[in-house]
């Protein structure tokens, strides 16, 4: 038998380990092992006599070494997850750990991973998934931030005003919008550091060279670092503002046309292909629903618009949420009975095609109903109703899965991102984390 050349010995916190350079190479250059055995450092990892000492917890090292060897994560019951995360961060193996915990998101295979109870009183406003598997939860005037390991970071607030919407600008920044306080420059919109909770800067609305105080509503971002926010000001500063996310400077403003609603929107969504912003103001915020597409290069008119104003009285089907689906060229809406409706995006003034699912819901209205919400993720359409999230797939949007957790009551908001789905409950102050397991080994 030949002598194996690439053996490496470690002494971690007094315990001896042996592995191979090949196994350590899995960690990548951007890790402690990658740096340690780079030729710059002149360390010969395979010199038999040399034992490399590392002053860390040996139990965790064993788990992480096993992860490098097999690609699979197995955490013994005696090791708290938090400890393991800390050690992974030391070795530069956080990405490996995260990848081993959950795989690419698929609405049809997700499982409930855990439920996180919160401390805030009252109903939740919104939950937003971050790009790295973390999330933030808006409760009243506070926003709580959780990283991917569900560690809570310092909460953020905007002068303790009621938060209306939150959006992740990048993996480390969150933009909040909040109500204004009369006569003062409180509230509005601000960008926060997600890990420290510090306010970095505010987004101002300037009208005739004067900074105005305003109430920030729904938010959206596009890939050019443009931030869109629905604004309700003192006098006539109703509309949608546009800011440069990196500098915080206001770059544009779309004023609300008469007889329409933009400044109190429930939802903004940037359409990358069409280079337009969808603005939806819905019942019950207003008596009527208004959905429109704005092209900021032409502020004289709206590119596409739909409203149920003037619809026959007695039609109970009021739109409660809307989502634009660019790939299908349509806008999908949902009413309080969870009927889905579709409208053609390519021509304005088209009719709504409802797809009734009401029989499913007959007589099952819970005590504290929540309005349905919609989300779209890689060709899968999600709709929440009471304590259940339905998954629809395919060109005809067939119902393929239902996600339900018996604890916590109705779902008031949910969000998909970082390969996870977060669902916020309204009765108990708790949110669920749903994720897809890594693919099986065999």
């Amino acid at each position: 038998m030949g002598v194996q050349k690439d053996r490496v010995k470690f002494n971690v916190g007094g315990r001896h380990f042996e592995t191979t350079a090949t196994t350590l190479a899995i960690a990548g250059r951007n890790s402690l092992f990658g740096a340690m055995f780079d030729e710059n450092w002149d360390l010969d990892p395979t010199a038999a006599a040399d034992e490399h000492f590392i002053d860390r917890n040996p139990d965790c090292f064993a788990v992480l070494l096993d992860l490098l060897r097999t690609g699979e994560l197995y955490i013994p019951p005696n090791i708290p997850e938090r400890l393991l995360h800390r050690e992974a961060l030391f070795y530069g193996l956080s990405d490996h750990l995260r990848a081993a915990k959950w795989g690419p998101f698929d609405g049809n295979t997700v499982r409930l991973s855990r439920s996180i109870p919160g401390r805030a009183p009252g109903d939740g406003t919104a939950i937003r998934a971050g790009p790295d598997g973390g999330c933030c939860v808006a409760h009243g005037s506070m926003v709580h931030v959780y990283d991917w390991a569900m560690e809570e970071h310092p909460p953020m607030n905007l002068d303790y005003q009621r938060v209306n919407d939150a959006v992740w600008a990048d993996s480390n920044s969150i933009v909040l919008s909040a109500c204004e306080r009369l006569g003062r420059d409180d509230g509005g919109m601000g960008l926060f550091n997600a890990s420290t909770g510090e306010l970095k800067y505010k987004f101002h609305v300037t009208h005739d060279d004067q900074v105005k105080s305003f109430t920030g509503g729904a938010l959206s971002l596009n890939s050019d670092y443009r931030l869109f926010g629905s604004c309700r000001g003192r006098s006539n500063e109703y509309g949608v503002g546009v800011w440069d996310q990196l500098s915080g400077k206001q770059v544009d403003f779309f004023y609300e046309p008469p007889g329409w609603s933009l400044g109190e929107a429930d939802k903004l969504q940037w359409l990358h292909g069409a280079n337009c912003l969808m603005v939806a103001t819905l019942f019950p915020r207003k008596d009527n629903c208004y959905i429109s597409l704005l092209d900021f290069r032409d502020k004289e008119r709206m590119v596409w618009a739909w409203s149920d104003a003037g619809a026959p009285v007695g039609d109970e089907r009021r739109v409660r949420d809307a989502i634009a689906m660019e790939e299908c060229g349509s806008i999908c809406v949902v009413n309080e009975y969870e009927d889905l409706g579709f409208m053609d995006l390519r021509r304005s003034g088209g009719a709504m095609r409802w797809r009734s699912r009401s029989p499913l819901m007959k007589g099952k209205m819970p005590d504290e109903p929540c309005y349905p919400k919609l989300a779209l993720h890689q060709g899968q359409l999600f709709s929440s109703m009471n304590d259940t999230i339905s998954v629809f797939c395919g060109p005809d949007w067939v119902l393929t899965s239902r996600l339900r957790n018996s604890y916590g009551g109705s779902i008031c908001d949910f969000s998909i991102g970082g390969d996870r789905l977060f669902a916020l409950h309204s009765e108990e102050n708790v949110f669920d984390v749903w994720e897809t397991r890594p693919p099986p080994i065999m």
């Binding site: 402690l32 340690m36 450092w41 360390l43 590392i54 530069g92």
Partner: protein
């Protein structure tokens, strides 16, 4: 319990032992790291423990000293870079770049190692505080303290530019070093590369090439200049590929193109004795290709070449077609055209990479000048006639096709295709009737080509002619099979039955045939009408030929090949010695112009004068007298007596053909008008003219005046009417 409750006071003491990290902890730890960084910069890292340094950096971040760690890093790295900068400044002359490169490599290596130690800070502290990551920080500091050092910045730029200048003058420089230095500038970010090098580089290059091109243009001819420009361009492309950013290639080539080509574009093209025209004349395809490739790079470069070439072709072509000398020989005329076209076709394919726009320019030029000469259609048809009569004898089928294809190209240039058709029909008729055509395949192949070019209509009559020839053969066989026995030993008659309309029949003045023949003809007539009912036969005596056996003087026997008219004249001399012009005219009733021509060829052509004329003169007069030339001799037994026919049409004939063409156009124009109006119902004058011209342009260029006349004629005949309100509108009347 008896004892009273004893009050006990619990006092909770404040937690006194607040955990305090050693106040000097941060400074101590940082000192370790700072010393390590120093050792790294001194190439003395082997004594360092990576694990210890990593752990120290980790601990500093963990214990909230990230800020101290980061600011320490900035200041210590700045210090090291400043000392590096000093040693680079001190480098003398040529070693400057070497020193810079060496220090850059050192810094890069150190930076990598520092980043390894501070990896934890880089991953956690820096993103959450939005600071510049370690690697980028290292590059920025290098940029600020070394590259933008006032004593280095301009020296670096000048050194690089000077080396490039030396390479341009032929010196060999250290390209590897250049590549490293330029790579460094690129690593520092596109703005550094552009601001600190590329901008000046382009500027200096422009100056250099401006001066050089000025020098060259004064002393070189066009071809040499282009060679030099091409070499320079390739050198620059080569330079970019060796040590500059690939994005620079388009910029520097733009500079060379602008300074060397675009600025001297016109002067180069029009250079006397070596410019474009001279190259075209001398078929310098290599130089032309070079010119094409270089000019293609500059705006409107190619169009300039194309324009000059076009006007050159037009001018020379115009000279060619209007040269009266050339027009004398139609075959030569067309051959010259074909040569010219071949020449430019070759130039375009070999030098101008078969550029479509150049091909179009060539076509339009030919179209322009070929139609300057109204006789071009006739000449082209004559050329084909010549080829199909004799020119193609012994030529392989493929080559025949080649010649015909070329002719077709010329044909395409013609505007008056119907004129060509007229002549072609005449010439084809002559070839067919006189049996002179060399190859049936070649004839048919050309017809097929014409058909694909102009459609079925254009060739239907030509095809009819071929059918007639074939049918006539069958008819003659049938005739001799049926009546052969009755005919005895008389003359042999061969009749070609021509369908009226398909053939270019002229005046139908039948002459008096000799008695032997007229009886034979009558027999054929009765046979033919007996087999085909409802037809009428008219004799075209002006188009036939005859073979005669004649005996002269002391029994010299010859076989004479003559036309029908000549045969009629000669047969008269079987019975008498002398005949006057008047007597001949009376006996034969041949139209006088034809008779004169036929007598001329019998009596006035040297070596073939079977008749003698009184008085002896070139021309035939009304009072001349003729007798058999008993002293006629010939080396050959078979004598062909041609008719004196002008191969080219004479002026009056030309007028006549012209008139017939105009006459034929009328119904075509009318048909086109009706077709258009039928679909459009209402149309204004200008649009009708435009559409009619468009519909007919595959056959001829309709004259607007003529179209107007046709419209008026159609209005008279109630096909159209003028609109009552707008007089410019016409309506179609169903």
């Amino acid at each position: 319990m008896s004892s009273g409750p004893k009050k006990r006071n619990f006092q909770i003491e404040a937690f006194k032992h607040k955990v305090v990290v050693d106040p000097k902890y941060a400074e101590k730890t940082w000192k370790v790291l700072e010393d390590a960084i120093k050792e790294i910069y001194n190439h003395n890292a082997s004594g360092l423990s990576f694990e210890e340094l990593y752990r120290n950096a980790y601990n500093m971040v963990l214990h909230k000293f990230g800020e101290r760690l980061y600011s320490g890093l900035v200041s210590t790295m700045t210090l090291h870079l400043q000392s590096m900068s000093k040693s680079i400044e001190a480098a003398q002359g040529a070693s400057f770049l070497d020193e810079l490169n060496a220090k850059w490599n050192d810094h890069n290596k150190a930076l990598q190692m520092i980043r390894d130690i501070l990896m934890y800070m880089d991953r956690t502290f820096i993103p959450s505080t939005h600071k510049t990551p370690v690697h980028e920080l290292g590059l920025n500091l290098w940029r600020d303290h070394v590259i933008h050092n006032s004593k280095i910045q301009s020296r670096l730029l000048n050194t690089i530019l000077e080396l490039i200048q030396r390479e341009r003058t032929g010196e060999v420089i250290n390209r590897g070093l250049m590549r490293n230095i330029i790579k460094m500038l690129m690593d520092l970010g596109p703005s550094v590369y552009q601001e600190d090098f590329e901008k000046s580089f382009l500027q200096v290059s422009a100056d250099f090439y401006r001066a050089e091109s000025q020098e060259y243009i004064e002393c070189c001819d066009c071809a040499d200049y282009l060679k030099k420009a091409e070499r320079r361009l390739n050198e620059e492309i080569d330079r970019v590929s060796h040590y500059l950013d690939t994005k620079t290639e388009s910029k520097i080539t733009n500079v060379v193109e602008k300074e060397m080509i675009a600025n001297h574009k016109l002067r180069l093209i029009h250079m006397e004795n070596s410019g474009l025209v001279k190259m075209l004349l001398d078929d310098k395809s290599e130089d032309l290709a070079r010119m094409y490739n270089l000019f293609r790079r500059v705006s409107i470069g190619l169009s300039t070449i194309r324009d000059v070439m076009t006007s050159h072709i037009r001018d020379t072509g115009k000279q060619l077609v209007t040269d009266p000398e050339k027009s004398k020989n139609p075959v030569e005329f067309v051959e010259t055209l074909l040569e010219k076209r071949d020449k430019y076709d070759k130039i375009i394919s070999s030098a101008f990479s078969n550029d479509k726009t150049f091909q179009n320019a060539l076509s339009s030029s030919f179209e322009y000048f070929i139609n300057l000469n109204p006789r071009s259609p006739e000449y082209i048809s004559l050329f084909v006639d010549d080829k199909l009569r004799k020119g193609l004898k012994g030529v392989k089928d493929d080559d025949v096709e080649l010649i015909l294809d070329k002719v077709m190209i010329l044909f395409r240039y013609l505007q008056e295709k119907d004129v060509f058709e007229k002549y072609y029909k005449q010439h084809l008729a002559k070839r067919l009737l006189s049996g002179k055509t060399v190859s049936d395949d070649a004839e048919r192949s050309l017809i097929v080509k014409l058909k694909t070019e102009c459609g079925y209509q254009f060739t239907s009559k030509l095809e009819g002619m071929f059918t007639d020839m074939k049918t006539s053969q069958d008819t003659m066989q049938g005739f001799y099979a049926a009546c052969g026995a009755d005919l005895g030993n008389g003359p042999t008659l061969v009749v070609q039955v021509l369908t009226t309309g398909s053939w270019p029949t002229q005046s139908t003045n039948t002459c008096n045939l000799p008695a032997e023949l007229s009886t034979l003809c009558e027999k054929f007539r009765s046979y033919y009408l007996g087999t085909h009912t409802g037809r009428r036969l008219t004799w075209q005596t002006n188009m036939g030929t005859a073979d005669l056996r004649a005996t002269f003087g002391e029994g010299h026997k010859y076989e004479l090949n003559v036309s029908t008219y000549q045969m009629c004249v000669l047969m008269l001399f079987n019975n008498t010695e002398h005949l006057s012009y008047k007597e001949i005219e009376q006996a034969t009733e041949i139209p006088s112009s034809d008779l004169k021509r036929c007598l001329q060829s019998l009596a006035c052509v040297k070596g073939k004068n079977v008749l003698r004329k009184e008085p002896m003169s070139k021309d035939i007069g009304e009072d001349d007298a003729f007798s058999v030339n008993d002293s006629f001799t010939s080396k050959l037994r078979k004598v062909k007596i041609g008719t004196v026919v002008a191969q080219k049409e004479s002026e009056p004939e030309k007028q006549e053909t012209r008139q017939r063409v105009e006459e034929d156009r009328k119904p075509q124009i009318e048909a086109a008008i009706v077709r258009i109006m039928k679909s459009r119902r209402v149309l204004d004058h200008n649009n009708i003219i435009a559409e009619v011209t468009k519909q007919l342009q595959s056959r001829f260029l309709a004259n607007p005046g003529e179209i107007k006349k046709r419209i008026e004629s159609l209005i008279e005949r109630d096909f159209l009417e003028r609109d009552n309100e707008d007089r410019r509108l016409y309506r179609y009347l169903a």
